[in-house]
Symmetry: C2
Subunit: 143 residues, 2 copies
Amino acid sequence: MEQRLSLITLGVTDLERSRRFYEQLGWRGQEVEETVFFEAGGIVLVLWCREKLALDSGVTDTDRGSFDGVVLAHNVRSEEEVRQVLAAAARAGATVTRPSGETFYGGYAACFTDPDGHVWEISYNPGFRLAEDGSIILPDFGT
Amino acid sequence: MEQRLSLITLGVTDLERSRRFYEQLGWRGQEVEETVFFEAGGIVLVLWCREKLALDSGVTDTDRGSFDGVVLAHNVRSEEEVRQVLAAAARAGATVTRPSGETFYGGYAACFTDPDGHVWEISYNPGFRLAEDGSIILPDFGT
């Protein structure tokens, strides 16, 4: 298995509500057969009906937990940008679960959940450089 | 908010078990302070303690659901490769939740869950071209 990811699909309960949420954050997607595809820098973020997603994956969706067990991170270039993105998310209807502040890894971050409770961290991590196109450059930790 | 993703963190209950699982699939990561980082083509897949991840995100993790509501997809170049990756995952201890077969979108795919129940789809989708480096090229659906 090559070491790469192609798509991340978020199960949603109301496709239009979720699409509007991400569009209010400035993202632009394409909707095809009740599925929304967002280019997200070499990978694709997809919104699709949660029930269909579970069925299609062969898993049951009887108990919805309080936490996905998955966090999506969007890294930015400054503390100010963390605060700006968090404010934009709040205006779009996100729930702020962790206000902007310093992190244990020497950075500055905030977290919010989207309309379906999917968690996003907006992070400024001085140890993780971003390329011009925004893609992340993992440091060599020397381990 | 720029239209891109930086990292995806999977909450895990046993870091070494999860690390071994992904390493058996051929991935190579770096472990730093009980966190494993895998380069995954412009983004980073991270393994971290589920409890810490929830706490750090400001969300509660009282009820673990039967489904994350999130599916990670790894697209490949042929049906044969779907079968090969699924077999490798099964050997590494994955639970196959959907055997290899044709999909409603005209492709061929299979699904498995990792040791913490995170769902992966291995997919051959003739409509989604892969670049030489494996990054996915979203078609213009004309919508």
